[in-house]
Amino acid sequence: MSDLRDLYQEVILDHSKRPRNFHAIADATRKAEGYNPLCGDRETVYLVLEGDRVRDVAFQGAGCAISTASASMMTESVKGKTRAEAEALFARFHELITGKNGEAGSKASSKSDSPELGKLEVFSGVREYPVRVKCATLPWHTLKAALDSEGAPAVVSTESEGPNAESGGA
């Protein structure tokens, strides 16, 4: 039970019960829908990009405690960040919850500006539950899809994908 509390930390339970930025954005410049076919969960991420920067971000949908809390905390974490910063944060987050510390990809992203995870550290317990990794990454993949979606000004940055970004692992 103590290990269950490692997964379901108070902060996570709080965000799952009272998700922040849980609404649609009428004038979103981009949006994407994420879908986990394993559990049927769907989440929509709304973005207002101002140049290269996330001016506003919100989400809607139904998911488990892990995916809802992850989406909620993600919106708080990436608001105000540049696209590159948001993607770097996802890469760090992915390393945290899969336990892989992206050493293999370090030559690709050799820059040393590893972003601070801050509150997102509470998701470290997910790594002990490999089948739940996809729950935690669903909102982030959706965010990335929204960032990558076309139709916005020519800001699209050069970057390559995060080292482990494509799959939720295990």
Binding site: D3, Y8, S16, K17, C39, D41, I66, R132
Partner: protein, 425 residues
């Protein structure tokens, strides 16, 4: 194995009759995996609708094949091939008797129920379903009884018609009957819903369809382990089930078909064993059932599948059905007491499966918390997304019972659910 001598230290108290005729403690000892501990807790395996555990008799049967009986079948004149063939054919006869089919050649060995549906769709279906025709299924089907027909309909320009279910998860028989049309070429229904536990009125469905000259395929994957099935009494045209859900190995299953239908159908796959003679100009196909069994089959698995049916027969499906009915009734009553819990699937005729949702808690979180209590349930859409859509749910939690489950395990489930509630509310 361990022949425990009954040392009567004191006269054994008279047990209730049910307990004596159906000794679940003794049955549990036949299944080695049930003594597993999970995170330090005794395993409570309530995911039998996904796959059932295997008794020692099945494990040993498969091992015995490889130790002393193994060779390819239907081919060799040598000792081992003859004996392996005999054992494999014996399993076919066991399956025939299990379904009360008329002849063993009506028993086609396949990889499982999924392959059986595909086989019929790709042979009978391609031969008989044309542009503008219809295939009629129900709204509670497993994906494996939807997608093969969808593929067929796309190929042929036919339409997949879906008979509705009501809010309890029961088939709306009146609507079903109305949907039987002159265009309907085949009806394909589950005998027992894997997501809701609904038992379909197969006998009645067959009567309605046959009155219009339409054959009926029945997906018996969930029913065969849980209730006696008599294909002649039901008068079904096709019936399929999987070994792994009836305590046998994976990768084996049965397609039953009436002789006349099977004989009129083209082969499914080409290869060895399904032919009588081959030249580059012309191939003559083998007799039933071999016409549908191309290639070397799962020999050891098939023989061990026979052992699984023997095991189930020894306990008796009527007794198993009664035991699981008791568990379902007990669990339904217990779960109904839990505030905020809703049972999904409340048809009057139910068996084996208890799907539920908990207000404010996603099924995945239920599953994770229960897992840490040693309780294995299924969470998700149960390969029946249209059923989930019908009830407006992304997913449910599902406990499903097997012949070895106990009321104590239901109690553990209830305690686990209270733990979930304590954590998330």
């Amino acid at each position: 194995m361990s022949a425990t001598t009954t040392t009567s230290t004191s006269t054994v108290a008279p047990e209730p009759r049910a307990a004596r005729t159906y000794d679940v403690d003794a049955i549990r000892r036949d299944f080695p995996i049930l003594s597993t501990r999970v995170y330090g807790k005794p395993l409570v395996y309530l995911d039998n609708a996904a796959s059932a555990q295997k008794p020692m008799a099945v494990i040993e049967a498969e091992q015995r094949v490889y130790e002393s009986l193994y060779a390819n079948i239907h081919r060799g004149v040598h000792y081992l091939s003859v004996h392996a063939t005999d054992a494999y054919d014996a399993a076919r006869e066991t399956a025939r008797a299990f379904l009360n089919a008329e002849s063993a050649h009506e028993i086609i060995f396949v990889r499982g129920t999924t392959e059986a549906v595909n086989l019929v769709a790709q042979t009978y279906g391609r031969q008989n379903v044309g542009a503008g025709d219809e295939v009629l299924i129900t709204a509670l089907e497993h994906h494996s009884n939807i997608v093969p027909w969808q593929l067929l309909c796309e190929e042929k320009g036919a339409r997949l018609a879906v008979a509705p279910i009501d809010d309890s998860g029961a088939l709306e028989l009146g609507a079903f009957e109305k949907m039987l049309s002159p265009k309907t070429r085949i009806v394909s229904v589950a005998h027992l819903s894997n997501a809701l536990g609904t038992i379909l009125p197969v006998r009645r469905i067959v009567e309605l369809a046959h009155a219009r000259g339409i054959p009926v395929f029945v997906d018996g994957a969930q029913a065969a382990p849980r209730m006696p099935v008599d294909v002649r009494a039901l008068d079904v045209d096709f019936y399929a089930f999987s070994s792994h859900k009836i305590y046998g190995p994976t990768g084996v299953g049965v397609l039953y078909g009436k002789t006349a239908l099977l004989e009129a159908m083209p082969p499914y796959q080409g290869g060895g064993d399904m032919i009588r003679s081959v030249t580059f100009e012309k191939t003559t196909f083998n007799d039933l059932p071999y016409k549908f069994e191309a290639g070397t089959p799962n020999i050891a698995g098939g023989i061990a599948f026979g052992a699984a049916l023997d095991y189930v027969n020894r306990l008796g499906l009527t007794a198993i059905e009664a035991h699981e009915h008791d568990l379902l009734a007990y669990a339904t009553a217990a779960l109904s007491e839990i505030a905020g819990l809703t049972i999904v699937g409340t048809a009057r005729e139910k068996a084996g499966v208890l799907s539920f949702v908990l207000e404010g808690v996603h099924p995945h979180d239920i599953g994770t918390v229960l897992d840490r209590e040693g309780i294995a349930i299924r969470t998700g859409h149960h390969c029946a997304q249209p059923v989930m859509d019908r009830f407006g749910l992304p997913a449910t939690a599902r406990a499903s019972f097997g012949l070895y489950n106990t009321r104590d395990e239901v109690d553990a489930l209830v305690a686990g659910i209270h733990k979930v509630i304590g954590m998330f509310r």
